[in-house]
Structures are given as C-alpha cells and as structure tokens.
Point group: C2
C-alpha cells in the first residue's frame, strides 16, 4: 500500500549525494553502503545496479567533491584583478586550504585511498589526472612559462607550492590539532613564502 514507486528514478545521483552527506556528518569510517542505501529509501543491494562495488561509489563521490573543489578554485582565479599576476597562485592555494578546512572530512576522503592519477611533470595533462593539480600547473605555466624559465625549475616550484598548500590542508584538518590563530588570515602569509628556512638563514633574518 506504499505509494513509493518501485523504481527510484534518480538513484545513482542520490547515492552519491547521500554518501557525501554521510561523509560530512560522520566521516569516511562511518560510511557504509547499507546506510547510504537506507538514506535513499532503497534496499541494501540496490546500489549494485549502479556501482560495481563500494569503492566504485566512493570514486564517483570523489569526482563529485573534486568538481566542487574545481569550482572554488576557478572562482578564486576569476576574482583576481590580474590573471597574470603570481598572486593567482596564492589565491588558488588559499582557496584549496580553506575548502578542506570548511569540509574537514573531505581531505582523508579524497587522499587516504586510491584517488585519481597525479602526474607531477609539467606537460602531462591527461584527462584522468587530478584536475585541481592540473589547474595549478596550467596557471603556473601561463604566468611563468612565457619568459624562459626552465621547465625543470618550474616543475620544482610547482611541486613545492602544492606540497606547502596540500600540507597546510592536511595539518589544518587534523582532528586533534590546536592552533590559536585564525587559519584564513594566516594561510596567505605562510604560502607567500617570504620567509623560509634558507632565506631566513641567508638574510640573517633572525
């Protein structure tokens, strides 16, 4: 006597969104296929009509979250007055970190298990690669690539930049981290890299 139709109609997308909601609320470890199915009002085996396995659903959810991150990053780029100023890269980094601070469960979800391919070399811009890093490479190359900086040096700088930003996101989203400053106002200083071990030593900053 239930008026619920036998077919859900939009189950695939609903599973993805319900899964992401669970991630946000309880974290990756608490996520189970059965909970997700129940959230969608559907039996435990129904997801297998749309995904080969739990991991397959997780991959789709990763794509979904990555798309959100890409939007945030693209907005950060657009909001820069000068698209060719190196500050574009800082703005991207800041948005990258803040994205994960605003959704702490997304970091372990995206990176603690097999995610997309990541290619650290500058030219490789394959379709399967992690889009946010490809976006960083593209913008860096646009800003610095036209005036003769050597490719290997650019690769090193990009890796350093991403490592710093990615490491900040990792640290800032740790569960038991204590920091009495405000991340949003601090991130930029830290990424700007005005100080640093070597430069402090060389300049005698101390």
């Amino acid at each position: 006597m239930s008026n619920k139709p036998y077919h859900h109609g939009n189950l695939r997308n609903s599973l993805i969104e319900a899964g992401i909601e669970l991630i946000n609320q309880e974290g990756l470890k608490q996520l189970s296929l059965r909970k997700v199915a129940a959230l969608c009002g559907v039996s435990q085996a129904a997801p297998y009509s749309h995904f080969q396995s739990k991991e397959d659903l997780l991959l789709a959810m990763q794509d979904y979250v990555t798309e959100q991150l890409m939007e945030v990053l693209n907005n950060a780029i657009k909001s820069c007055p000068n698209q060719n100023d190196p500050y574009v890269l800082i703005a991207m980094g800041k948005s990258y970190v803040m994205f994960f601070i605003n959704h702490p469960h997304y970091f372990p979800f995206l990176f603690s298990q097999p995610c997309m391919e990541i290619n650290l070399s500058l030219e490789a811009n394959g379709t399967k690669n992690f889009p946010p890093f490809e976006l960083l490479k593209t913008n860096f190359f646009r800003i610095f690539g036209e005036n003769g900086m050597m490719k290997e040096k650019m690769e090193d700088i990009i890796i350093q930049l991403w490592a710093t930003v990615h490491g900040l996101a990792s640290i800032a989203t740790m569960k038991y981290v204590h920091y009495d400053k405000d991340w949003e106002t601090k991130i930029e200083d830290i990424i700007w890299n005005k100080y640093g071990v070597s430069s402090s030593a060389e300049r005698g900053d101390a």
Copy 2:
C-alpha cells in the same frame, strides 16, 4: 596434544608488531583484529585482554611507528656536522619524507585517523603531542630562537616548513602519483625553498 602453552607470554607486543607487519604488507584497510590475532596464533578475542578496542591497538601501533620515525630524525640530526646550522632542519625534513617513502603505508596509517595531539604553538611541548613535530620545534628554537626573532614569526616559519615537508610526504606516497625524477635527490632542493612563488616573482627569476 599441542605443545603451545595456553598463555602466549608476550602477546601485547606481538600484536603490535604483527599489526605493523600487516600494515606494511597490505595497508590499513586490509588490517583486521582477527587477522592480527591469527598471525599471533591466538584466538579472535584474545587481543581484548590487552587492548580495549581495535582503535586502541592502532594507537599503540602508531606509538610504535612514531618511535621509529623519531629514531630516524634523531639520527639525521646527529649526522649533521654543525648542530646549530639551519641545515639541521633540512636534514630532518629530508629524513621525514624519506621515512614515509620507504614505508608508504605508514602515512595514511599515522595521519588519516585520530592520532596524537598536535600543538602548533611554539611553547606548548606537552607529553601527548606528536613527538616529531615537537622535535622540529625544539631544534628550530635552538637554532633561531636565541637572536631575537619574534615568536610569532618563528611559529609561522615552522608551520610552513612542516607543511612543505609533510605535504611532500603525502604527495610522494600517493598510490597513483607519477614522478620521473628521484625523490631523494629532489627533496632537498624543494625544501630549501630557494625559489618559491613570491621570491621568483620579486626577483624576476623567470
């Protein structure tokens, strides 16, 4: 008729070491309490005489691995000719990254779930805090602290340094990362921070 004694004799330590062996071989996701118990030749519920829960065993395993990391870091410090040269910090960072490259499963194991406390402020040197970061703070303060650098600035530099190093470890240990260079020879350049977005732009490096 088995000659195996009823009591194991050293079960607590055996569980920790068997668990770490499983982590190294199959990764965190494949680790189960029952497998660890079986590896120790003991029944499935035996671990509960020594650990309150699976998570409790994992915490003990984290302590064990953290201790290994501390040895590596301390050796790196000792092998520096001048203990007061900023290079000590680079050597620590290099060892930090190489430690996780040599044991790729340790990174998600240590950081993707509740680990120890992490206190980013310089003075807080509590006992429960993540010892490798405390070691970094201690050494940084010894090298740079005696000549009037402001505390807040030191905190910023330490966070930046650790973020870079930690991010490098995260990226280098990702499962599907492609890098055609040799990490060991590249890490130092990247950590040294000679280039960087801001400095490249300001110096007109390009």
